[in-house]
Each structure stands twice: as C-alpha cells, then as structure tokens.
C-alpha cells in the first residue's frame, strides 16, 4: 500500500492503497463517492466516467497511481449549489429511467460541450457514442444536450 494524494472535486484527499488499484474503486470505496459506478471494468460502457483536467476518462481501467490531474466526479459538477446547465437539462427533459449510466452520459456531455459548445447532431452522436445506456434513454439524452446547445446558441437565443 502507498499513500497517494488525489485532487478530487477541488479538495486534496489522501488515500492508502495499492498503486495499481483502478481509480474507480478508490473513489468509491476509499472516498465514498457515488457518481462513478462499476459497469464493465473494461472501459467499454462509460458508467465509471470521471473528468480529469476536463477530459472524460474511464476510471475502471485507470490505475490510481497514473492520475496526476484534477478529478471531477458527478458530485462536483454543480457549482456553488447551482446545477450545471446539463444537469438542469437532464431534469427538464426527464432523461433517466434507472439512471445508473447517467453519470457517464452527463460527464461525457460536459467534456463534449467544453470542447465544442455548438456540436451538430452528428457530432453529438459521435461524441456520446462510447457511453452505453441499457434503458435506452439516448433520444432523451440527445434532446437534453441540444437543449443546452440551443440555450447557449446566440443565433437561437436571438
């Protein structure tokens, strides 16, 4: 076991774990976070997604010792008590069914829009392609992303 320092949701947290432990289990079991969830352990489904320095990363296949950047989980998406616009859009569009995958959907959408604030429909589909939902809320997710894009689109707002 080794003592490692992680920057999670704006705070530095120390953990005493095997360095090879996937980040997912450290976040869930040592830091009691609930956003990232186990889905496949293979980096295939996206349920475990976290943001590291703004990039969407699969925490189930990332050794904790390989993490150097700032980690944001679903719990850290709201700022100063205000939901992120994507979270509000998820509520407005009543996106989730069971909701288990929505952590990965939201954080991947966040990374997508941070890189490309006005994606086309095709870019939304491509950007979200790697995140699976077995309740099939895809259409609602895409509607929620378009809602945020529309709200920030100066032409649409005009």
């Amino acid at each position: 076991m080794s003592i490692l320092a992680l920057n999670v949701n704006g705070a530095v947290r120390e953990v005493d774990v095997e360095p090879s432990t996937p980040l997912l289990y450290v976040l869930r079991n040592d830091l009691a976070l609930r956003g990232p969830r186990f889905g496949c352990g293979l980096g295939q489904c996206g349920a475990c997604t976290v943001l590291i320095d703004g990039a969407a990363v699969r925490s189930c296949v990332l050794p904790v010792s390989a993490v150097s950047g700032a980690i944001t989980t679903l719990e850290g998406l709201a700022q100063n008590g205000a939901l992120h616009p994507l979270q509000q859009a998820w509520i407005d569009e009543q996106v989730p069914q069971c909701g288990y995958c929505q952590n990965g959907q939201l954080l991947t959408a966040k990374a997508l829009l941070d890189n490309n604030p006005r994606p086309t429909d095709a870019e939304i589909r491509a950007g979200m392609e790697g995140v699976l939902c077995r309740c099939m809320t895809y259409y609602r997710i895409q509607a929620a992303i378009k809602r945020v894009v529309g709200a920030t689109d100066p032409e649409a707002a005009a």
Binding site: M1, N29, A47, I91, E129, C133, C135, Y138, Y139
Partner: protein, 788 residues
Amino acid sequence: MKTSLELPHALEDALRRLNPTLSRRHFLASSGALVLSVGASALPVGRALAQAAADGPYPDLDFLQLDTWIVIHPDNTATFYVGKTDGGQGTSTAFRQMMCDELDIAFAQTRLLMGSTDITPDQGGSGGSDAIETDGWPMRRVAAEARRVLLELGAAQLQLPVSDVTAAQGRVLAIADSSRSISYAELVGGRRFNVSLTGANVNATTGAAAVKPVQQLQVMGQSLPRDDIPPKVDGSLTWAVDVRLPGMLHARNIRPPLAGSTLRSVDEMSVAGIPGFVRVVQEGNYLAVVCEREEQAIQAAQQLRAEWTPPAQAPFPASEDLFDYLRASAPMSSREPRVSGDPAGAFAAAAQILEADYEVPFQGHTAIGPAFALADPSDNQLTIYSNDMKTYSLRTGIAQFLNLPRERVRVVYMDGPQVYGRTAADDVGFEAAYLAHTLGRPVRVQWMRHEETAWDTKGPAYAFRMRGALDAGGRLTALDYEARALDYAHVGYNEPDTVLIAQLMGRRPARPAAGGAALPSVLYGIEHLRLAGHVLALPLVWETPLRTGNLRDPDGPQVTYAFEGFIDELAAASGRDPVQFRRDLIAASPEDDSFRRARSLAVLDAAVAAHGRWDVRSAPRAPASGPVLSGRGIAYTYRNNTVVAVIAEVEVNRETGHVWVRRLVCAHDCGLAINPVGLRNTVECGMLHGLSRALWEEVQFDTEKVTSVDWASHPSMRHSDTPEAIDIVLVNGDPNPDRPDLPHYGAGETSHKPMIAAVAIFDATGVRLRRAPFRRERVLAALNAVQS
C-alpha cells in the same frame, strides 16, 4: 475507510420524522392514540399490530391496517408506504399522484417509500407492467379511506355533519365557510389511524370509502416531474451499490469455465498470498473468493486455481446451429392447440398458401450495472440491500434457502440498474446472503461484466412456422401459427431451488419447470385459426448459462415479430396496403371486450395520422438508386387491455447492410394516463429497448460456453443508432371518456416490439428478414441471396 451506514435520504428522513427514537416497526406496534368509532370493518382493531410486536424483529406488515400505508406527520405532510419497486419508469411518482388525489393533499407535502420488506406492505414488488393497472387500486382505495376517516374526525372537531365538510390541501373544511378548517396534522399528526381495512388479498384491500370519479381527479393526469430524477442527476442519491458497512467484505464468484463442469479441486494457496485475502468458499460447484477490499477480490477471482471436470456431453449446440437443433428436436411438451373454425379445410380450399419461418435467438438482460447485493448478518438478523424488483419474494426465498425464520430476514430496497424481469439481482441476493451467513460478516457481492452477460437469465429462443391461406379475392381465410420455444426449466422469481447458487450446489426441484411457448393475442377476425406451441430443452438443463427467465415483455417481441411480420407478408400477397389490411381484420373481429376493437382502430388511425406521410401501397417501394434505401412499416399489437400501433421508417445501406431506424411513431392507448410525460418516456425507452433487441442483441455460444461476454462481443444499441425523430401519441381513446370508472391499464412493456422494423426493411428492399437481430452481415447476406 468509510464505515457509516448510508440509507437513501428519503428513507432516513421518513424514519426520523416518525420519531427520532422509534423505528417504523415500533411506530406500528405502539398503542394507538386514537380510538375511532369510524373503523371500516368489524375486524379487531390493532390485531396485526399486537401480533407484530410479539413475533420478532421483522414481522410481515398487515396490509389490512390503514397505518401500514399512510402516516400523517405533525407538520401536515404524509408518507405513503407501498409494496412496489420502481425500475425507473416513474411509478413512484405516479403512485404518489394517485394517493395524493384520493387523500386531498398537495403532492409536495408527501413522500413515498417502496419495496423495503420491513416497512412496506407486500404487494409483490414489480412485474408484468401491472403497477398502475393492478397495484395502484389498493393505494387509491386506502388513500380514499384515510380521507373518509379524516372527514369524520374533522367534522366532529368542527361540530358539523360530515355532509357539510370537504377536504383540500391536507385540511378538512366547512363547505359553507372555508375559513373554518382543521389540518390533517391536528387530527392525526404523528399518531395512528387505527383503522382496519378489508380484502381477501392485498390487491383487494379497501376501506368503506369509494375512490373519486375520474371527473374529480386533479393530480392524476398531470405531467409532474419524476421525484427520483434530481438525485440521480446531481449525484446525491445513495444507490444499493453505494452502501458501506463496518467490517464489510467483498466477494467475487468463479463460474464453471465450461457449462456443466464439475468442480474437482480448488487450490486455496494460489490466492492466500493476496493482501486482504479472507477465504475461499466452496459448496458443490458454487465457488467464491472473499477479501477485505474490492480490487483484492477481483484479483483473487482471476488468480484462483481450480480444476473442473468438463461434462460428458456437450451442454448445447453452438448458437449458429441453434435453429436447426430447435426445429429437429422432439418437444418436452406441446400445448393443446387453440383452434377456431376449420383451418385444415380452409387451407385445402385456399387459392394461395403462404409459409414462412421466423427465428429469434436467446437474448439477455445484460444490465448496465452487473448484478449486486450486500448482506449483513449483524444482530442475528439478515439484512439484504438490493435493487431486486421483487424484494418480498427475495426475502422469503432467502429465508427458505438458509432455513432461517422469515422474521429474521429483511430486504432493504434501493435504486439500482435496470430490472426488466427476472434478472440476476435474484441470484446475487442469495449469494450475498449465503456468504454473509457463512462468514458472519457483511459481504458485498458484485458480479463482473462477463458474468452478467454470460450468466444472467435469458429470454427464450424461438423458431416459428407461419402458414396463411388467401382466397381468390386475396382475403385471409386461415392462419396457422406454430411456435417452438427453448424454454424448458424456465426459472421463476427468487425460487430457493432454482436460483443459480442453488443449482450449483445441487439443490434442485424434482422436476424442472415446464416452461412455455407463447401464443399471440389475436383480435383479428380470422375465421379459421390454429395456434400451437411446443417447449424444447437443451441437453444441459441445470447449471447452464442458457437458463431462461422473464425478460421484459416476456415472449412479446418474439411472438409479435413472427405474427405481425407474417400479417405483413399476407397483406403484400393479397395486394393490400398493410394498414388497410389490418384495419379490415380488426373490424372483422367479433370481440369488443373493453372496447378493444374500437380502441385498436383508433390507435391505427392515430399512428398513421401522426406519421403524416403514410403512402398507401400494395407492394414494396420501387428500389431507389444509390446505396441507401428507405421504407416504412407498421405493426399493431395489444397486451392485456393496452393497444399499440408502431410505425418505423428505416434506411438500409445495401452496400454495407447497415440498418438505421430513422423514425418511430407510436400510438398508445392504456386508458387513463396518470402521468403523461412519464408514460411517454417509458413508451419511448421501451420501444428503443426493443429496437436494440431488433438490431443487435443475441447470445452467442460454442458447444462449451457462452462467447458473448462483454460490450464488444455482445453489442447493444448506441447513440448513433438512435432515431432522429420519435413521435408518441397517447390516444387513451376510451370511446366514453367521461365514464367514471375509466381504468388505468398497464404500460412499460406494451411498446417493446420494434423487431417489427423488419417489415419496413422489406418495404425498403423487397427482402424479408425473418431472423433477428438485423446485424449488418445478416442483412447483407439476405440482400445478396435475393440478388444472386
């Protein structure tokens, strides 16, 4: 390490509100503060409450006590307790709406708890899309009864006859002078109603009060936002997988590498050096490792050396040979065919006979989160934290499996990944209970992805033989449906002798379940009809990853694909437009139970109207130039009293075989809609789940093991497969909408039929796809077979 017990906020909150020092059980067992003369029945008041106090830690709650269902708090809020679960279709919100409406209390002033066996009445959990259709009724009636009692109490306090008071927003008020009022809290806040109910079973539970007529409903019918969505979106929800207990251990299962293998030896030393290793647990062919930390258990499961003896006989044919096997093997059982008219005579007299074979492979649940449970044996009790949709039978089954008194076992229900039928949440609950009971410590069991995808229960594979007879005028005179289903030894819910761990330990029922081959629900007026079904078995019956159980809309996608697909073939053969062909068949139906005939015609018309560009055709669209062909098709079906029509528009790339369902239109009539937006989204996602099964999902295996084990080898629908438009019309077209008893029928599984996109592929290409799923290589092969 975090060691505190975390429960959902709503659960904690509700328990605290009752009394900081008293549990709900103690609340129900405490002496009532009220002695009412208004009790609904002659049953001894408090009978079960006294029994509850005497019997032990987790006695069954008495559904014949109003206090079991509704508690009014001193702050004039209410908590509802119901014996259902919500897999994310919004039933928790819908139930609240139903009970608020009958109780006359504002939605925001209420909360609803469901599914935990020690605090809610046993309504069986979820299944069969019956939540709103069946289980909502006792909720409405008990809420109406609570209102009736409150009106009597309030009238006495206001010194008015009951006929001169009414209720609104959690208050009883004088009809003549609404300034004269008293709150529910002032009448019963923090105390028990102590009112008995009647009813031979939980579904029949009722008081003396009648439910409101539909014209007076105010909360039902509103599209209130689902109450479970904000905490799922902001990360604040505590899921079942999030519970951490002091001293909790992590377990992983090791499954037989080849189906039907026998465990010969285990080398515990191969994992004893792993830090945190606790124990290898083995009984029969059940094998698990237990460690202090999760990643240690995962490593130990991968590293454990075990010797298995393969079975003498291949457990099953390879999936590519499955349908040859299915058609060539002798059935285990055949149902008595359902026959009307003289099918043999009609076929003999036919001008034209059509025949077609349809095939659907095994398909799995493959939940996004693999099966999970946590069991805690503390205090000589057994508590299981689970998202199983049938928590009550999970509790009973585990008590039987471990030979424990039921009263010592409870299941705490919490949110989890999808539960659309008999999932591995059943199996893992028993495993966690067994391991915790064996080790005497809390044990958390998490299935891995390969385990979930290979070993969860499967919807049965089907082979269909369809035959139809047309007369010289193109009229359908006879139809013959024959289904062969691989469904022998179908496992039920939480059965202590069929859950996977029981099978692996060799504890099995004397006879496997017979299974079933489903017949279509036929409203069509077909004069001569024969419906037949056979159940078949694979060589390996027990300890097999190909065990069948209920999968969302059990048998519905398979049967509808074959039946409606063949109706489409008959329409084409008779030179008729598929909508008009179905309209005529429905109109010819002799039956109109629940106005189903009229409502069916209404949904067909509504689907065509919503589609907006249905071009009447008697033959497939003429092939376009270029690689992408487009077409449209329709299917109609009903499930119980809910009627549905779905139109699909597809694009087929004839060079790659890629199919994109570009648009789905659904007209849906399930009677009174409690929450239209919630219903609409459930219908949408149900359709798309069906579309995933149509386009992608198939269990694949060789003659030893399942080979589709993750999202690469077992693909599922993705964002790029999503239609660009989905139009859903809630018809709810009871011919008499003012009828006071306008019922609410089931939804959720009704719209799960888009395998029928095959008919749109035919319209686009002129080629019938009679084997699901429509992966590109299969589509390409079918197109090439016709061209060559």
